[in-house]
Amino acid sequence: MLTENLVALQVVVPLIFAPVCLLLGKSRHAWACALTVSWLALGIATLLVTRVATIGTQSYAIGAWAAPIGIEYRVDMAGALIIFIIAAIGAMVMSYARRSIEHEIAAENSGYFYACYLLCLTGLLGIAATGDAFNMFVFLEISSLSSYVLISLGTTRRALTAAFQYLVMGTIGATFILIGVGMLYMMTGTLNMMDLAQRLPGVDDTRTIRVAFAFVTIGVSIKLALFPLHLWLPNAYTFAPSVVSAFVAATATKVGIYVLLRFFFTVFGIHFSFVAMHVGEILMVLAVVAMLVASLVAIFQDNIKRMLAYSSVAQIGYMILGISLATSAGVTAGMIHLFNHALIKCALFLCMGNIFLRLGSVELHDLRGLAQQMPWTMAVFVIGGLSLIGVPLTSGFISKWYLVSAVLDAGLWPLAVLILLASLFALIYIGRVVEAAYFSKPDPTAKKVREAPASMLIPAWLLIGANLYIGVDASLLAGIARQGADILIGAGVP
């Protein structure tokens, strides 16, 4: 029963346990439940990745109604990779969460928090697993609505406005996607992605399909915070509870990118997307601007969470740049960076959680001399930061390596220079924090703080360990990403 239903269980298990979590209320059991489910999801995801790797793409007809009549779950290598990273981040974040949540969220809300977290996990996994355009919209909404709630639970009132802003932009995005999907359905009569891919070539010279393409692209771009549609992101990441920042930053935008990949390559096909609609050129420009501008803005932030948020916008630029090349190497690079950035950003935001727990602030000037007092936490920050810059032996370097060589393969060497220039900006903004924490004298009036508890350090270090492992041996990740990219690229060719 387990193996053939693996794909469904991946999504259904967290879904069913979300209400259980609500019933468990504010007791520790809610956390234990969320933790168990997260690890269970990671276990299922691991099995799923191996299964996809050994016997190929998994298709699962829900309710035994064969696509396109029913809803199909379809997980290929790219999807499996996304599912795995979501589940892995979820397991890490939940292992970390208890102390941080006790500190940042009122006790009576903790049950709701864990329920919403599981719902968000469900939504994200569902998006990655589904092969149905409308079903994707539904799970997108599950993940979005729950993340609005999660973000609004932040410690300051600005969390509320941040969540509201996200809600408005997110809903506009989702509605755009809905319009696009509606038009696709109108012209083809189907909602199944593979079926759409087969039927679209017959109608893809219509104005309706072109507009549908534009609306889906814009809608998804809002969700993945592509510059200049990223306006919701900095506030949301800054004011959300630390755990939420770590989870959402590492997963939500990544899933957005995955959706974009699905639509560009699987549904519309590489020819329509990149040749007829020229989306490659547009995305490339936006990605480069995002990379440079957001990195530059990050340099001037004094709130480190906000700085990391702008860095995320920039890093999304890297991923989109890879995708915009529409080559196997480019998409591979995008997916590798997607994976690595999830590891990096999650660790960095967890680090911020540690600091907030002890210090009650993540402002740069409060961090002076902190490395003496929280050496393990700051070490995570340094390694994560180096990875963001792209220093060798970290996963960030692997990303950069693949991205730059993909760009060079495409003959666009000025872009390579810009990519590397943007990593210099990363050096500056990470450097500011390191300089403050390691080489500045602490404020004499500041209180002494202790290192964060082990329960919060270990998950962060596990992420760093994975990061360094990839930095040394990326062959597994690169192999999976390459396989995923080849399926995506190949899917567009008739």
Partner: protein
């Protein structure tokens, strides 16, 4: 222990030493004993590899492969061994010196100082023994990062600003230019291995090769070729042992060493001659030699004067790497060693003066030779070597450089070397002159000033060793010369 294991141990020992050093941070004597012991062992291990190389066997080992086609691996070859021998020997000496200096100067955070120092040396070993350009790049970056805390060691605003300059230049050039060159080379040739005769010949046009060469020369910011040279004077805020070993020997030599490796094993010196950019880059190097020497002339701070002198001297080696002449390559390689001994001696002297008299400016050092005769004698030897006068080691390398330049009729290089020799004399000899032949200033405690009051014993011991080394290398230049000739022979 097989040669390959020795090779790995050479890189690993300095990398794991920090753990031991940190563990002993409450017991300074034990901590420094560990540092001494570690550096001593390292030198012996590197030395044990010498036999293999002299017999022509080049042990190599590959570890992992992060990206298909590129590996992290180590290999020994003559130039690398020469560099490793130099760095590990001088590390030992510097450790002796540091113990005297740091204690006498009451520096803070000595434990972290020794830790980062060890990591930096480990990185240098990694660079020296890198089996391919990728591995070299990794340790190149690691070296930058591990020396950054040493530059900002003082923890004040000036140190932080200098640290920014340091990181900005070195990471900036290496990430934007060198990394680009690396990835480009890899995507053109599919490999980053060091091969005799180079890997680029036949796969790229001279035009692209020109771009690559420019990227490499400027990307290796540690060579301090103008206009990416300002980090080196900035780094002088570091404690003197750091300036001495790292910013006169390890870091800067890592730069020129990398460039030599690139020109010999990536481009191949024959192919280098066919690239139009080579000639122009030589002019840049020649200009750096002369301009930096002129700047050195104007510095009153002794350490800064030494730093500018280093910039000038580094470009000698850059010049040699681009000269397309075997004799030039020999001269450049040997100059790595010769300059290192001389420059470290000079820095040791500067530190000794600082520790003993708290003086940093040349103009304040009038008559200091009477007070610190041993120190200033060593300084004189170093200065002679820098100018290139016998019986100091600098003469040998300069001789070969000039021969090489004449062999391939690079008259610009000849002129640059000759002019800078005069300038060297112009900025070093006055220091010696002031120290020995000017009367000490009319200070109230004049009586004391005329008494001999030398630097601490450990410091004197260290600078004595290097000064003697500088002279000894003039007479015993066989070893570096043999290794360098093997290098040129191997690439043919």
């Amino acid at each position: 222990m097989s040669a390959a294991t020795t090779l790995l141990t050479c890189v690993a020992v300095p990398m794991v030493m920090p753990a031991l050093i940190a563990a002993l941070h409450r017991r300074p004597n034990a901590r420094e004993a560990v540092s001494l012991l570690g550096s001593g062992c390292l030198f012996l291990m590197v030395f044990s590899l010498l036999d293999d190389v002299r017999q022509g066997s080049l042990p190599a080992i590959d570890l992992v492969s992060p990206v298909p086609g590129i590996k992290i691996g180590f290999a020994v070859e003559p130039l690398g061994l020469m560099f490793a021998l130099l760095a590990s020997f001088l590390w030992f000496v510097t450790t002796v010196y540091s113990i005297g200096y740091m204690r006498h100067h009451h520096e803070k955070r000595q434990t972290s100082f020794y830790c980062y120092f060890a990591i930096a040396l480990g990185s240098v070993m990694g660079i020296a023994f890198a089996g391919n350009l990728f591995t070299l790049f990794i340790f190149y970056e690691l070296l930058t990062l591990s020396t950054y805390p040493l530059v900002t060691h003082a923890g004040n605003t000036a140190a932080r600003r200098a640290g920014r300059m340091y990181l900005g230049h070195l990471i900036g050039t290496s990430v934007i230019l060198l990394l680009l060159a690396l990835i480009w080379t890899w995507s053109l040739t599919g490999t980053l291995d060091f091969r005799a005769g180079g890997i680029l010949e036949g796969t790229v046009t001279p035009g692209i090769a020109s771009v690559l060469l420019v990227l490499f020369v400027f990307g290796i910011g540690k060579t301090a070729v103008m206009p990416f040279h300002l980090w080196l004077p900035a780094a002088m805020v570091a404690p003197t042992p750091v300036s001495a070993l790292l910013h006169a020997v390890a870091v800067v030599k890592a730069g020129v060493f990398t460039l030599l490796k690139v020109s010999i094993y990536i481009f191949g010196i024959d192919f280098l001659g066919q690239i139009p950019a080579t000639q122009w880059l030589m002019y840049v190097a020649a200009a750096t030699i002369v301009l930096a020497a002129l700047f050195a002339l104007r510095q009153d701070n002794l350490k800064l004067r030494l730093a500018w002198s280093t910039i000038s001297q580094l470009s000698y080696i850059v010049l040699c790497a681009l000269m397309v002449s075997p004799l030039g390559i020999i001269g450049g390689s040997v100059h790595i060693v010769m300059h290192a001994f001389a420059k470290i001696t000079l820095f040791f002297c500067a530190g000794a003066i600082l520790v003993t008299t708290q003086k940093t400016r040349v103009s304040e050092m009038t008559g200091i030779g009477r007070r610190m005769p041993w120190t200033m004698a060593a300084f004189t030897i170093g200065a002679l070597s820098m100018i290139g006068l016998p019986p100091a080691a600098g003469f040998i390398s300069k001789w070969y450089m000039l021969l090489g330049a004449i062999e391939v009729s690079q008259w610009v290089a000849v002129i640059a070397i000759s002019v800078s020799t005069l300038l060297n004399a112009a900025y070093f000899l006055p220091v010696v002159y002031i120290a020995f032949f000017h009367a000490p200033p009319d200070a109230p405690d004049r009586v004391d000033i005329n008494e001999v009051k030398e630097a601490p014993m450990m410091i004197l011991l260290a600078l004595g060793i290097t000064a003697v080394g500088t002279v000894a290398l003039f007479f015993l230049s066989d070893l570096p010369m043999a290794l360098a000739s093997q290098l040129v022979g191997g690439s043919r």
